[in-house]
Amino acid sequence: MNSFDIIGPVMVGPSSSHTAGAAKIGNIARKLLGTPVQDADIYFHGSFLATGKGHGTDKALIAGLLGFPVDDPRIADSFRYAEENGMKYRMSGIDLGDVHPNSVKLILTGTNGRKMEMVAASVGGGAIQVTEIDGLATNFSGDYPTLVVSNLDQPGHITEITSMLSHKSINIATMQVYRSSKGGHAVIVVECDQEVPETAIRWLAHLEGILNVTYLGLKDKA
């Protein structure tokens, strides 16, 4: 903790969890998709559903999907910018079950046709957790450069990832492995201390058994 956790962040109001957190979720979803969002189905759960309209959670989320940062004054008018950008969206309520009260589910299609499903929660003070990607449980904050690899659940993929990172002198902060069933579909999430170069990501994506590689850099390229 430092002084700017106390004085700050600079943000668009009214709520760090319901507004700034929602904008951050939108931003991370867009980065994970890796391309501008063409179409979005948005499902609000719990407190996001109950007080989201009053807190501008809807506007903040759309703003995030457009790539606006949490202190961008355009957040209040994000619906208009979405229209100008040709981004389509639908919003509704949902019961996601026993999850954090400030949760939202997103089903996104990018301008390049790529599809992604994600569930995330705003856990307080503007911090968030991505809790599900494409139906598999995850748990990362988006505060680190993050590599999300979907692969077939077979031996060797963890070694491939870690040796690639060590080869590029990238330090691993956390690493989580999830799978749907033994021998089925798995997701490996690696939070790193340094950015992962694009060439390394492409190399990974071409390996046999790797289904999809998503990278969340701290700098927005999309």
């Binding site: 002084s3 106390i6 004085i7 962040p9 109001g13 709520s15 760090s16 109950a50 004054p73 309520g93």
Partner: protein
């Protein structure tokens, strides 16, 4: 960040460094940045507060319609000279309401320590600077003092309404502002600590009971009491008055009170003003998706 006022008071005694320098130097270590960069970053926070204040829009209401347009009413009363509190306190009241409304109306603000309490520190600091013509550097130092106090509160107690009730938001902001003003009045670490403690004592146990769960009622107007309470607490400390309960113990009491508060009074929108017939009616009329 430091966990006790006693620690900072002792460092001041042993090194001659001022409260704000002690906080900043600790930041530099934690963030691995130079003192110049740290000071620059805090200056940006102060300037963001100033621009949030000056970009108040008197025509806006919040999405729920519960708040908005009151800042201009205080401004008019102040111009007409009808405020019993006088022009200077009136200016603080005006800025506190305006910032709270700006937050509810989705304008850009600085959370200090939270969005709901974002009006307290800027209302006091900006008004004081206008009145006394302090150079910006002095204001930024005062902001470091506030940050240091907030850090102590966050570690000993909490700066979140959901965890500690409104004493942890408006109360914490008020204590932070009081310490900052005590510094501007020439107070040492001891005076700063007592100003913060006296401010907190007045707001101990304050419920977090937002109507319909929105950061609007009572939040916007509570920024006024947080700001005015900061000023009077700093003045008491400046006059040489001390809290009979040592500052660190005051904030430990705050933590305990926060734990004792029922969940209904911790941002759930279920107790207090939120549970009044009118509060419930507002909630039932709220639009969802």
């Amino acid at each position: 960040m430091y966990q006790s006022f006693q620690q900072i008071i002792e460092i001041e005694k042993n090194t001659g460094k001022s409260f704000w320098e002690i906080v900043r130097d600790d930041d530099c270590k934690e963030m691995e940045i130079t003192p110049e960069d740290a000071f620059q970053k805090m200056t940006e926070m102060y300037e963001a507060m100033r621009s949030a204040d000056s970009s108040y829009d008197p025509t806006l209401s919040s999405a729920s319609g519960l708040v908005g347009r009151d800042g201009e009413k205080v401004a008019a009363a102040r111009r007409n000279g009808t405020l019993l509190s006088g022009s200077f306190l009136g200016l603080i009241m005006e800025k506190a309401i305006k910032m709270g409304e700006s937050n509810a109306c989705m304008k850009r603000i600085v959370a200090a320590p939270t969005a709901g309490s974002c009006g307290v520190i800027p209302a006091v600091f900006l008004s004081l600077q206008e009145e006394k013509k302090y150079p910006v550097e002095e204001m930024v130092k005062a902001l470091y003092v506030s940050a240091g106090i907030g850090g102590i509160i966050a570690q000993r107690a909490s700066v979140s309404g959901a965890a500690g009730g409104c004493q942890a938001e408006i109360g914490a902001a008020s204590a932070m502002a009081a310490g900052g003003v005590a510094f501007l009045l020439g107070g040492d670490a001891e005076a700063i600590s007592h100003a913060a403690a006296m401010a907190m004592k007045n707001l101990l146990g304050l419920a977090c009971d937002p109507v319909a769960g929105l950061v609007e009622v009572p939040c916007v107007k509570r920024n006024v009491i947080g700001a005015v309470n900061a000023l009077t607490s700093a003045d008491l400390a400046g006059a040489g008055i001390r809290s009979r309960i040592p500052p660190d113990e005051v904030f430990d009491a705050m933590r305990n009170v926060g734990r004792m508060l029922p969940e209904d009074l911790k941002e759930t929108g279920k107790g207090g003003l939120a549970a009044t017939p009118t509060g419930i009616a507002f909630r039932n009329n709220l639009k969802t998706f």
